[in-house]
């Protein structure tokens, strides 16, 4: 099983690497959100306060694009059907894809961070290692429902509307926690609240990564 997950992950990353314009597209989408919010904010003194939240808003929207693309590749020549009929465990497919999506989002997040710092006028006053943890687990929180619902929406009509609507309510707790944690870390976190928020994200991840993996097989079989 672990081996299969690793193989699926390798395949996902290899495909992304081959056509890097896709990942670039995801990145630019996130960047666009950051910039738009900055432009739309009348007083620049407000920007540092909303930096954390805006980052996660951008990542969440970018994740929907990433999911769309991840599944478009599968449906081009029916590879998804091929995977179904291959002696590979559907659960392995889920985790392989979800991990790959997490890594892609995390990469986008890491590249967005310096831009966030520049455009929103913030500094990382708190623990940078903690920030990395928040980014990692937060992206995992976005990837888990996205990988599941991406499978559904890629096979249904109106997927561009459906996917965000399905994902958004589900990830609210994670986005809330991640935004707060990020904001606290950027501000310096005098009351050490960020680790607690990270704990919330980790719990969210634990629940959803388990449940979604269990259910993925049903959806794949259709």
């Amino acid at each position: 099983m672990i081996a299969q997950i690793f193989q699926v992950l390798r395949k996902e990353l290899l495909i992304e690497w081959r056509d890097r314009s896709r990942v670039a597209g995801v990145f630019f989408f996130g960047l666009a959100v950051l910039l738009m919010v900055a432009f739309a904010t009348p007083q620049s003194t407000v920007l540092p306060k909303i930096a954390g939240g805006t980052l996660w808003l951008g990542l969440m929207l970018a994740s929907t694009r990433s999911m769309d693309q991840s599944y478009a590749v599968e449906h081009e020549h029916g590879a998804m059907e091929g995977l179904l009929l291959w002696p590979v465990d559907p659960v392995a497919i889920y985790y392989g894809k979800a991990i790959a999506n997490t890594l892609i989002l995390a990469a986008v997040a890491i590249v967005l961070m310096p831009l966030l710092i520049a455009v929103y006028g913030v500094e990382v006053k708190g623990d940078p290692l903690l920030l990395v943890g928040v980014l990692a687990f937060g992206c995992a929180a976005l990837a888990a429902p996205g990988t599941l619902y991406g499978l559904i929406s890629s096979q249904a009509r109106g997927s561009s509307v459906l996917l965000p609507l399905l994902i958004f309510p589900l990830v609210v707790p994670a986005i809330l926690a991640a935004s707060n944690a990020t904001t606290k870390i950027l501000e310096g976190d005098p009351m050490q609240q960020a680790p607690a928020w990270l704990g919330v994200i980790v719990i969210f991840d634990a629940v959803h990564w388990t449940v979604m993996g269990m259910v993925y097989g049903r959806i794949l079989e259709d």
Binding site: L162, L165, P169, V207
Partner: protein, 276 residues
């Protein structure tokens, strides 16, 4: 001791006479018991079949009567609320609305889980019914809450744990309904929406807890507690209305379930032709 028959300006008159409370509570208990017994009786298929009409109709009528009388009680008989005055009356229906909305979503979640285990079409229809009824009631809940909140705290909305969880649930289930609307194949639609429903239900406790945590760390906004300020002696009015809402909800669920079944019937395949 003043009676409860006061209009406006009831600050200071915060409790009903004891006799009222006992009588009121007894009436509420009996009213609920009648409906509850009926509901239990309806679980038996033989009883349902024996009725010349749809089993849920008397329950719906009863619920409506309770609702009308309950509203009368809440608006005219019970005194105004201790601190909020007349506006507090809306809590008599706002709190029950919250309970039945969550009840409907909960029913949807259970039905979805059962469907994934067992696969009977009737369960899928129940998921559809419960999701729609839940969305309707949650919307009503938000409206009632907004009407209450504006004069009381000056805002239409707030992001406390309860409201946020309600909004999240509402959005999740709107998503489920949208998904159902988009997928044509009945089997796929059933499986996918059951999964989405289940995930939405599982998500509720996490959402609630994380927002609660968020609020407890943010001391800046005042706590919106809503509902706990009803005096104990007036609770029976709220419970009375709760019965009304519960029985009406059962009626909504049953009726909507029937509609879903009728639609599903149209998708039932033709009979398998015989060997030529």
């Amino acid at each position: 001791m003043q009676t409860g028959r006061q209009w406006g300006g009831v600050v200071g008159y915060d409790a009903l006479p004891r006799r009222w409370v006992i009588e009121g509570s007894t009436i509420t208990a009996i009213a609920g018991l009648i409906g509850f017994v009926y509901l239990i009786a309806m679980v038996v298929p033989a009883v349902r079949r024996a009725l010349p009409f749809r089993w849920e109709t008397p329950l719906g009528v009863y619920g409506l009567l309770l609702l009308l009388s309950g509203n009368y009680l809440g608006l005219f008989v019970a005194p105004g609320e201790r601190m909020m005055g007349e506006v507090g009356r809306i809590l008599h229906v706002h709190v029950p609305a919250a309970w039945v909305a969550m009840l409907s979503f909960f029913v949807a979640g259970i039905a979805a889980f059962a469907f994934l285990m067992v696969g009977k079409r009737g369960l899928d229809s129940l998921v559809e019914a419960a999701a729609e009824v839940g969305v309707m009631e949650a919307t009503l809940l938000c409206l009632l809450g907004a009407i209450f909140a504006k004069p009381t705290w000056g805002v239409w909305w707030d992001w406390d744990p309860r409201l946020t969880s309600t909004a999240v649930m509402l959005l999740s289930f709107v998503g489920v309904l949208l998904l159902r609307g988009v997928v044509r194949d009945p089997d796929r639609r059933a499986t996918w929406s059951a999964v989405a429903t289940l995930l939405s239900t599982v998500n509720l406790p996490i959402t609630y807890m994380s927002v609660k945590w968020w609020r407890s760390l943010h001391q800046d906004m005042s706590e919106t507690t809503g509902g706990s300020t009803i005096d104990d002696s007036l609770r029976w009015v709220m419970y009375y209305n709760t019965w009304a809402f519960v029985f009406l909800t059962v009626w909504f669920l049953a009726t909507r379930w029937r509609l879903a079944e009728v639609r599903a019937e149209r998708e039932v395949p033709d009979a398998l032709p015989e060997v030529a």
